[in-house]
Symmetry: C2
Subunit: 339 residues, 2 copies
């Protein structure tokens, strides 16, 4: 794919000839209405730049097509849109485009769309999704082109990128400790969801084996219920690390309604750093960011390397998460307001 | 594109031969390791089904590629993911795949990705975005393939699909009236945003020219501020139609904190019917749904029609919105709980 950088595109021809993309295309296809002078100017620009107008004929020779396919089953886009934007950022400077295709959880859709991508001779495929412990419903093993798994489960011998859930959870829990919180609790999604279990185990490493861990679902409603369980019949914890932002928002709202001050009496940290949730929470929420755009950038670079025939060691690469500090748990301790 | 339905795909060959897609691909390309028997079985299946293994050679003959490109600048995916899923739903039964490509607000990205789509000989392009009164940063006029605009502004002579904001706003306001609300207000996003202005004008048609309309931004924080403005110094309205769900959520939270019962004393309706917001609001929110998946389905059908050479009248088609009734404004009047 190193060829991509030097490749002449139709738009280069259009620019050189000072015409629109549409005009350039028509001029070279011998269609459309334009002056002979314009058509000749475009043909001249094409020949100066070494542009081959018939891309299919060129692809037959070069066997390259300079496109990466992104398959996803995240129909909400929460996880896949940042991954796509990262992949695009890494590849666009090489003249490589990223096309995303939604396969939902339907093997028939997976088959049809994968078929279309192979048919278009994409140079590689990045599989992404909405959780790292599930495979996409698509037959990706042993394809004739490179495949990278990014926030989606791949076979053991695949190149896979995952956020480092354990490190992110440890940083959040340590941050609670460093801000003087001593009675810590963790409220998270369902057991059996790998991200929930890994984050819970990492929380216990720091908070101790007796610190309460409450499994539930990924909703605000569960945050309300968990707050009730933790506070009914006594003082609750003074620091809560949550498995996602929606649970944390539910807890923060529930505490406000109980008259428990966040962050004064309790520090709360979410996970995902989802803009629409963390910024609207009162106070704005400290949260762990999985850096999915960076994960996408690295997936893009790995696909480039694999396409160029470079050796890339198989296995799972864990990329670090970042703690984004806001008011719901600043650096200061209990009973002190934070910036 | 009617040809698409009858087309033989690599996966048909794989299925007929009882092998994986990867094996079928390698067998026909003469690569990979497999028994001679397997390779022959695949080649036999391909010849029985009339499959031409070299898709580029075939495309040279057929000039068709059975793919629609979806260009978007909605990097959050809130609007484009439902559009993509609708387009895909309409086209997949015809064997046509949809590839989405993010151009953000960058004309350079628009140029590169459009170029890649033309290079791949997509059969049509659907332009979509995050608001209907802005064009994508891509030169889409006079392309040699059909273009449909869906929730994005196109030129006057283009085929454009838009949600019927005015009808959606009228339905919401009439619903407030029918549930017995008499003092109505509208709280919405910025002036100069076409959707905000159209919805506000439609609200005034029903609620009367003196009903208060508050322009602000699209955030929960603005909902809180608007509630303060409406209630400070007197009784507020008994029915509020909001320009989006986040504003409505801010207002509902603010009213709870003031001890004003929703829906008992005030009915509140949002706009967008965004699952993550409407379901988490207490009580769950009545909201206007723009039916973006249906908009995507119709865009897919129009692209098919245009590709087949059918006449499609240019202009803007407005598709109806639906009111989705939940507890924040049920059918019952003030002071009566609703289901």
């Amino acid at each position: 794919m190193t060829v991509a950088a030097e490749r002449t595109r139709l738009s280069d021809v259009a620019q050189r000839a000072g015409v629109s993309l549409a005009t350039a295309s028509k001029a070279l296809n011998g269609t459309g209405r334009m002056t002979t002078e314009t058509r000749q100017r475009v043909q001249h620009a094409a020949s100066e730049l070494g542009f081959r107008p018939n891309t299919h004929a060129r692809a037959l020779i070069a066997q390259r097509s300079f496109t990466v396919g992104l398959l996803t089953n995240d129909s909400y886009g929460r996880f896949s849109m940042p991954v796509m934007s990262g992949v695009s950022e890494a590849l666009v400077s090489k003249g490589v485009s990223v096309f995303m295709c939604g396969v939902e959880n339907d093997p028939e859709l997976g088959r049809i769309h994968l078929d279309a991508m192979l048919d278009k001779q994409v140079d590689g495929i990045i599989a992404t999704g909405k959780r790292g412990d599930r495979q996409l419903p698509a037959e990706l093993a042993e394809l004739p082109i490179p495949v990278v798994y990014a926030f989606s489960k791949g076979p053991d011998d695949a190149v896979t990128l995952m956020p480092d859930d354990a490190q992110g959870a440890r940083e959040a829990t340590e941050w609670l400790r460093r801000s003087g919180r001593r009675r810590l609790a963790h409220v998270t999604g369902p057991e059996g969801f790998a991200a929930a279990e890994v984050r819970a185990a990492a929380f216990r490493e720091i908070a101790g084996p007796d610190a309460p861990v409450l499994f539930g679902d990924w909703s605000e409603a569960w945050g309300h219920e968990a707050a009730a369980r933790l506070w009914d019949g006594g003082n609750g914890p003074d620091g809560i690390f949550c498995g996602n932002d929606q649970i944390a928002r539910g807890i923060i709202d529930a505490l406000r309604e109980r008259g428990v001050d966040v962050p004064g009496a309790v520090g709360v940290i979410g996970f995902d750093n989802w803009g629409v949730v963390v910024r609207a929470t009162r106070p704005p929420m400290t949260s762990v960011d999985m850096n999915l755009a960076e994960l996408g950038r690295q997936a893009g670079r790995l696909i480039l390397a694999l396409s160029s025939g470079e050796d890339v060691a198989p296995g799972i690469r864990h990329l670090p998460c970042s703690l984004v500090v806001r008011e719901s748990c600043g650096g200061a301790g209990p009973d002190r307001m934070t910036a």
